[in-house]
Structure formats: C-alpha cells, structure tokens
C-alpha cells in the first residue's frame, strides 16, 4: 500500500484540499473526526491517544508521519 497516495485519498474523501503539505489545516470537529476515522479504516489501524492531542498542529505531513510511525509499530509487533 502506498501510504502517501492512500492518505491523499483520505483527505479527498473528506473534501479537504491540500495546497501545501506543511500548511496548517483548519479543520472543524466533524472534519477532523471524519478524517481520522477514514484514515483508521483505510490503514486498518487505531490512532493512539497520545497522537490525538488537542494542541497538535495539524498538517498533511503530520498525519503522514503519524501513519508511517503507526504502521511501523504494527509491522514490528
């Protein structure tokens, strides 16, 4: 599975446009929840609580790094 492409699909399915992978995303609560759920379903993973903190600055790259990290942990377990 190509993580980058799949993640781009997740964003597109939730109507979130990516102009710049490091640009801070302005997501309301419904968009955020819907996006996280889409990511969890497509990657068959669960977001750990520590990565879902309120204060995290949300960018496309942050989600990308999170998914890569969670996938690596999943493969190593």
């Amino acid at each position: 599975m190509n993580i980058l492409e799949t993640l781009e699909e997740c964003f597109a399915e939730n109507g979130i446009v990516i102009n710049n992978m490091d640009e801070e995303l302005e997501l309301d609560s419904i968009q955020y929840i819907s996006l996280v759920v889409t990511i969890e379903q497509k990657f068959e993973m669960e977001y750990p609580e520590e990565l879902l903190g309120e204060k995290a600055i949300l960018t496309f790259n942050k989600f990308y790094e999170d998914v890569k990290r969670i996938n690596e942990i999943g493969v190593n377990q």
């Binding site: 399915e13 939730n14 309301d28 419904i30 968009q31 929840i33 819907s34 889409t38 669960e46 879902l52």
Partner: protein, 450 residues
Amino acid sequence: MKKSIYNLYTENGDGRKIIYNSFTGKQVRFEKEMEKEYENVLTDNFHQIRKEHLEVLMASGILVDVEEFHELNNFYNGIVFNQDFLEITVLPTDACNFRCIYCYQTGPYHKMELDTANGLLMFLEKNCMKYKRILLGWFGGEPLLQKDMVIYVTERVKNMCKKNGIAFVSRMSTNGYELDLDTAKSLIKNSLLFYQITIDGTKETHNIQRPHIANGDSYEKIIYNLKEIKNNIRSSQLSIACRINVSERNYRVLDSFLDEFKEQFGDDTRFKVVVEPVHDWGGENIEKNKDLVIDDRLCEIVKRFCELAAKKEVHVLMPMDFGRGNLLCEASRKNSLVFNFNGDLLKCTSAIYTGGIAQDINRIGHIDKQGNCHINENWEKQWLKREDDELMDRYGCRNCIGYPLCGGSSCVLATNIIKADVCENKQRIADYIEGIVVYNDLTGKYLEIA
C-alpha cells in the same frame, strides 16, 4: 481593557479564589498569596496587576478589550445560518422497548417505510454536494428497533459523502438494549460514532426508572453490550456518553454509580459520564411521578457529581467540550432538520408532543418519496429568528453567564414558539457552570496565578 461580562467569581473548598470565563471555557485559580491580584481584577485595578498575570487573564478571556456580546451575536448568526453544514436527525420509529417513568413520549406507535427512507436518500443525493459536512442523527422512540433501516440509511449516506468529498459523522441516542456487538460493528464502520446511552444509577435504581417492557433487568443487558464494545472495538473516535438522569429517587446512589462506572469503563477514555436532572419534559408519566423532579437542587447535585467524578478520575463530558455554542438548540439552525418516520420535516423532537399551534409550526415541511423537499418558509422562519432586543430583554440574555454557551437559543421551542415568560434554562446552565468549576479545579484544568 475591562472585565469580561461572562466571568464567574467564586472560590474552591480551600478558600482559593477562582474566576471562570464561559466565553473561553477557561478557569484561573489564584493561590492564597495572590488574593490581592484577584481583588485587583474585581476592583478594575488592572494597572496594579503584574504583567505576567495580565497575560494569563487576557489569554483566559477574564479581561478583554472587545465588545463580547456583539462578537458572540455575530458568531451565533454564523452558526444559525451556516451554509456548509447539514444536520439531519432521523426518527425511524416512535416506538420504544422501554417504559421510562419520566418519558414524555406516548403512542400510538409508527415506523418508517422503506420508500420514505429512500425519499430521504434521493433528497440527499440531489443536494448533498451543497455541503462540506453532514451530521446524521438517530433518535426515537428507540431507533434500534429499526436497526436494519438505520444501517441501510447510514451506510448509503456515508458512501454518498465519500463519493462527493463531504466529511460525515453520525450519532445516536439509544437506550443501548439492542446495541449488541454485531450491531455496533455495523454502525461504527459506517461512522456512527457518537452514542448517548442512559444508565440511571445502579442496577436497582436504573431498573425502576427505566424498565424494559418485558425484561425486568435492562441494566445487565446494557452493561454487557457496552463491555463488549469496549473490549472488541478499536476506533479512537468512538464516543459513548453514559448519561444519568438524576432524580430524588436515585440521587443517593451517585457515589456507587460512579464507582461501578470507574470499575467497568474507567480505563477507556472513549466512555464518559453526563449528568442531567430529571425535570418535567411534559407528558402524562411525569405528572404521575412529580416527586422525581430535582430542578431546585440541581446546583448541589451537579457540584457533588463533578466532585465525586473528579476524585474518582471518571471522565465527565462537559458542555464546553464541544466548544462555544454547544447549548445552542439544533432547532435554531437553518440547516438542522428532523426527518420523521412519515417523511415530515420538523424542527424539534420535543414539540412533536406539545399539542396546539407549536406542534403545527413544528411541521415545517415534507420530503416526498421522489426526494423532493417542500418547506413552509414562514414557519421555518419562526424557529430561526433572533429578535435581539426583545429576546435579550425578556430573558436577560445580555449579561447571562450562559449566553456564550447557548446564544439565547437553548430552547427555541420555549423562546420563539411558546414565548415563555422566563428562560427555564438560565438557572440550569448557571448550575452546570458551577459544576464545571468544581471539576476543573479538582482535575487541574485551570491556569494558575501564583
């Protein structure tokens, strides 16, 4: 610079001064040696306040340099007339498998036919691309008495949103009896993530207040279902709010209820508790059980509940957890509709049973079986109007600490339609805020001036 009009000035059990601001939801606690700073706030002696403390007070909204009321009004008008967001609450049935002793809903009972549901789906197919976000709610009666229909509709709406690039979430109020693991899996995979399930205390008190029509022990079944969900469903965004309707009869078991909740669900932050008083929701049942109603002791109960929950480290769901405006009634929003079992479009689930003109004005339209929507705009307008001066003066909204939470629209049935003499929620919201302050203080959710 001035003090916010939405500050609550109080102190905790140790005598430390606290200021809570309902505009920001932030709380500041003054250590005992800093009481002078607290006095400086009260007496508008801002130039005497230390710079670093001024920064804290400004950041928490306790001191402001804006016109808060007008800012809030603009904010609320933005919510009421928002064009990007559609909320539809579906009532697939008004039947219920419980006979709660305070319930306002009565028979005869109905269920939604498939072609009515398909009419809704056709309407959404034609119109969903106007929105960026859709929230689909399920209410009743008991919606899971029509669980196949709930799954059928939710799955199709989710796929529709996915195809059109629309964020989608769904939620449900259910008694939990039919929420077995397989059902929960089917719902959650279709983004039905938010559940409100009422558990009225311990087994003993719950089964008296919320009896199943045939099983004398609904409590065991609900707890079993919730444990199965907790242990088998891994979805970080799942949220289960276990609500307790506190009455004069189950008030004595608050401590035990929280102990049991902690033991069974305390290690899972997706499970939270919510406290509500039993009050007069209308209908015949509450007339026969008036002794249940606990409105005049709400402040005491909410504070006690929050104190117990904080000390036991039980997660409590607070109004501010969903941000400013969480107590703004859905009926006050233009793009918030209730789709009844017969295809009628309503604004308010409570107004279904009020009788009289309110019940008529509630029925603002209809979606036919071809997916065409017909709305009576004159009646719709009654629910949306915000007659600022009249409303604010009649209900004392302008300086009410609850205004940032409700925008003067905590119950538009009462304010806009029935035109009640007083705001029944004013004191209730103030009581809740007192509870929030206690909870925040005991769980460290405050900024410190030390």
